[in-house]
Structures are given as structure tokens and as C-alpha cells.
Symmetry: C2
Subunit: 208 residues, 2 copies
Amino acid sequence: MRKWWNMPKIVDHDARRRHIAEAVHRVIHDKGMESVSLREVAAEAGVSMGTVQYYVTTKDQMLLLALERLASWIGERVAAVAARQSTPLDVLRATVLELLPLDEERSYLNRIGLAFQASSVVSENQAAAMRAGYASLLSFLAGQIRAAQAAGQLAAHLDAGKEASMLYAFAQGIVNATLVGHYTPEDVAALLDHQLARLVAGWTPDST
Amino acid sequence: MRKWWNMPKIVDHDARRRHIAEAVHRVIHDKGMESVSLREVAAEAGVSMGTVQYYVTTKDQMLLLALERLASWIGERVAAVAARQSTPLDVLRATVLELLPLDEERSYLNRIGLAFQASSVVSENQAAAMRAGYASLLSFLAGQIRAAQAAGQLAAHLDAGKEASMLYAFAQGIVNATLVGHYTPEDVAALLDHQLARLVAGWTPDST
DNA sequence: GTTTTTACCATGCAGTCGCATGAGAAAGTG
DNA sequence: CACTTTCTCATGCGACTGCATGGTAAAAAC
């Protein structure tokens, strides 16, 4: 946090970092993780390389910043879409749908996510951030499952944590296959409803 | 195929290519896709950089070679483990288990696979190879599901193709999460059996 | 208006990148 | 044996890499 005395030339650091993080996102999406470099990101952000270095001391830190920004972005999106649903089961379906690459924006998001998945395998910093994101999302899903159980929408004997894990794993696998072009958005939605239908018998989904 | 007349200094080209491909695998596993370079691979393979260039004209081609080698390797492993099972349902479970990162070798395999998943998103050549691998594996799984249905082990009304897609998607999602350290091998096996149990009620799994 | 702190940028540096080239070693053929 | 073809390597090239440095513009503090 900035001190309130002696503060020359104030700029919004968070905004700058966000700007840089989003430039990283665009580079990853357009040219892949391999072509992320300080110069490339600086050019994409429309600033000099020195500016990038001012806000981020190393490339690893830059990637970590971009990953954290992605995670919070996804979190916001999920929260927003969940807030628009009425029943816990609707929240569950809407949340997973929000995470699938069903339109251009969600594709954009998932491309970056997959790139970081692979990158996290060799970077412990990123892996830690990734695990935190997993945990947060899974606990949210598990909470909705428990709520659905309390509301009588799901069988009480189901293990909420396990079901959340299974549902999310399913979604992630679909993402992988879809991003390399194996599934169309229609396939994806159909498969998700099939998986959900297996979780709760006799349930008709609404629109996307 | 090589001509049988006028053939000086014969070497086994396939063996050389395999050697290079496996060096690429090791580099990807140890240091990640970003640090795959002609020099690094040559050093890992124990040959000069020029030799790598002799068998592979460009870096993209080298990666494609490594990807195809990985795919056929996985194919061989699956075929081998499937041959050791008795019933179609056992084949199904054993096949998916073979694809999960349950020990060091399968982790090795999956790390490389995930790296290529991400890489394929920005490389159409690799994406095509990836899709071919998907199609082959999914048709194999679907075939086993149909066989299980014919043998009365699975309900006849199930859509084999859809079930294969769902099962494999689930497995892939588990792989992603496990590789960043979110699940332990025990979690993984338990989750798979849970998913399989949902496919066929009242079925006790044997050992790994 | 001077000073001080912050923010930003241009440039330099050693190292690596993919790829091309030419020379030479090895193993066949006559 | 000489001769041809296959194979392997060392080296050079321009471009790019992450990172460090020194300088400068701008705004708050005094």
C-alpha cells in the first residue's frame, strides 16, 4: 500500500499491472507461450520495454502476474454468471458452461488457461497459483452441490467434493479437446448436459 | 523406402529419428516446451546440431516428429495393456488407467502430452496430429464400450461414442489437475472408479 | 522555484535462437 | 584401389533473448 505523504507522480500501479498482464494474455493467445518476451509484451502493451521492467522485475514474475490476473478474471466471470441464476443446480450448470470454450471470449480465456497449465508443470510458482485457483473453484462448485442437496435437487448421499472434482475434470478435458479442434461448441454443450444428467436424473437444461 | 542398389553408409533412419524424438521428449519433460531448441535437443541426444538438422529440416518438423512418436508410443502402451485384460469393461478401465499419471513413467508421458496440447493450440500441424490421436483413441474406447454392451456388461441404450468422449474428457481433466499437483495418485484412481461406477452400476474394480 | 521522488525510456551486453553452408569422415560400389 | 553417396560436424550469420544501466520527463513536496 502507498503512503499518503511524499508521493510524487502518482500513477495507478494496479491499472498498469493489469494493462501489462492483459498484454501478456493477448500475446499468449495470438502467438503462444513460447513467444512471450519482454519486448513482445511491451510492444503489445504499447509501452517501452523499460516500463514493463519497472513494474515487473523478471519474466517469471510477469508470467505470474498474468496468471493471477487470469485467475481473478475467471473468478469474476463465474461470480457474475452465478449471481444471475436462481437454483443451486442452475448455478452449477451455468458456472461450468462459463468455463467452457463456447464462444470467442471463452475460447480466448481457455487458450490462455491451457498455456498456463502446461507452463505450470515446469514452474513451481505458477503451479502454486494454479493450485490455488483449482481449490477456490472446486470449493465453490462443491458448495453449490451441497446447496443443491440441501434444496433437495440432488441426492443427499453424494460426496460434494468428489462430485465437484469429477465435474470440473470433465470440463477441463473437454476444453483440451475443443481447443485443438476436436469438438464443436454444440458437441461440448451436449456432452456437458449428458454428464450433468448423469449426476441428477430427470433434469431439463435451459438455454446457454 | 530405400533402394537396394548403390547404398553407401547405411544407417537406420527410423532409429535416428526415434532417438531424436525421444531426446525432444526428455527436454520437454525436464525443462518444458519453451526450452526446446535444436542445440538443446542435439546435446540431449548426444549428437551435433548438424545431425539433428540432417534428419529434421526445421524446428517445427522436429516437434511434429516428437509428437507423432509420442502418439504411437501411447498407442503401443494402450494396446499392450488392453491385450492383458479379459472382458471389455476391464479393457476400458485398464486403458484409462494407463493414460493417467499414476506412476513416474505415466507422469512422464502425460507431462509431454500436456505440453503438446498447449503447443497444438498455436500450431496447426501439431493440432492435426493431435486430433488424429484423439480420434484413434476415442474410437478404440467406443469400440470397447460397444463390446461391453454386446457382452451385456453395459446398458444397451448408451451412446458408445458419447460415453467414450465423456470418459476420456474426464481422464484428461484429471491429468491436467494432477500434473500441477492438485491430486495424488490415490485421488486419481478413486475418482476414475467413481466415474466408471456411474457408467455401470454394481461393478467392483480389480487392482491397478 | 528548487528539490525530491516517481515513472519511463533508450541503449548496451553477453548469450541464445533457427537456419545455412562447406568441409570431411564413413561406408557402401565398381 | 579409387569413387560415389551418405552421413556428420563445426562454424557463421543476423535476429532475438532477459536483464542491467544511466539518463530524463513529470509531478508532488517544500
